[in-house]
């Protein structure tokens, strides 16, 4: 358990630092690379939560696909030289973010969570498959998700196609 705690603190610090770098770095490309680091830290956090399947999916989808897409878009829009300046709402946005964090932290530290003492399920993949595809599970959302993905693919192709 002590190893899990150390892993959590390392991953949390790395993830928060990388997230701060995403919003504070002036260079868009470096911000994208720190976003990749943040995604990796989140995958590690999933492992400390014993969500092994989700960690693999996180690395495949976020680190593998989404970050490549973002870097491709940065290359195509050539905004790298212009950097990532803040707009004139920087101070109000900072205040809103701090207020939001204060409210959420206050609420969740003053709630008594009914934490279960049961050890988590491992490995999670068969259980998730059962939940997703069994009759009483999430089969309808699983059927709807590919329609959403198909619509997104067609929409993206139509939007970027040359006239």
């Amino acid at each position: 358990m002590i190893g899990l705690d150390i892993a959590f603190w390392i991953l949390a610090v790395v993830g928060v630092m990388a997230a701060l770098a995403v919003v504070l770095l002036g260079d868009v490309f470096r911000a994208a690379l720190s976003l990749v680091l943040c995604f990796l830290a989140v995958a590690g956090i999933y492992i400390t939560l014993s969500a092994d399947f989700l960690a693999a999916v996180q690395i495949l989808i976020y680190v593998g696909a989404i970050s490549v897409l973002i870097i491709l878009a940065i290359m195509l829009t050539r905004e790298v030289q212009r950097g990532s300046p803040a707009n004139k709402l920087r101070i109000p946005a900072f205040i809103v973010a701090i207020l939001f964090f204060g409210g959420v932290a206050y609420a969740l530290l003053n709630t008594t969570w009914q934490v279960s003492a049961t050890p988590p399920l491992e490995p999670t993949t068969p259980a998730i498959a059962g939940l997703l595809f069994s009759e009483g599970g999430f089969i309808l959302p699983v059927e709807i998700a590919p329609i959403l993905l198909l619509a997104a693919i067609i929409g993206a192709i139509v939007l970027v196609r040359e006239k």
């Binding site: 969500a51 973002i70 878009a73």
Partner: protein, 102 residues
């Protein structure tokens, strides 16, 4: 001893950073990246709830998978829109894309 609260605080920190980025940045791609950060933060909260409150049900992990599906669709369409705007207006500065602002 790391517990549920630690994960929820981490999630709230990541969400607040993403919120600040989404509100304060001019570059549309950075705004999209901030939205991805916020989605990741929500996923951490859901997996933590799933792990600590109902360890055998895994409902939070299934929700996190659906959030990832929607995030993938959103980032594909969002980047397509950004590239299309760049082609027409030569900029992706969110403060200059104000055609529909009254």
């Amino acid at each position: 001893m790391v517990g549920l609260e630690h994960y929820l605080i981490l999630s709230a920190v990541l969400f607040s950073i993403g919120l600040y980025g989404a509100l304060a940045k001019r570059n549309a791609i950075i705004i999209l990246m901030s939205i991805e950060l916020m989605l990741n933060a929500v996923n951490i909260a859901m997996v933590a709830f799933s792990r600590y409150i109902v360890p055998l049900l895994l409902t939070g992990q299934v929700f996190a998978i659906f959030v990832m599906v929607v995030a993938a669709a959103e980032v594909a369409v969002g980047l397509a829109i950004i590239i299309s705007i760049y082609r027409h207006r030569e900029t992706i500065d969110a403060t200059k894309i104000d055609l529909m602002k009254w």
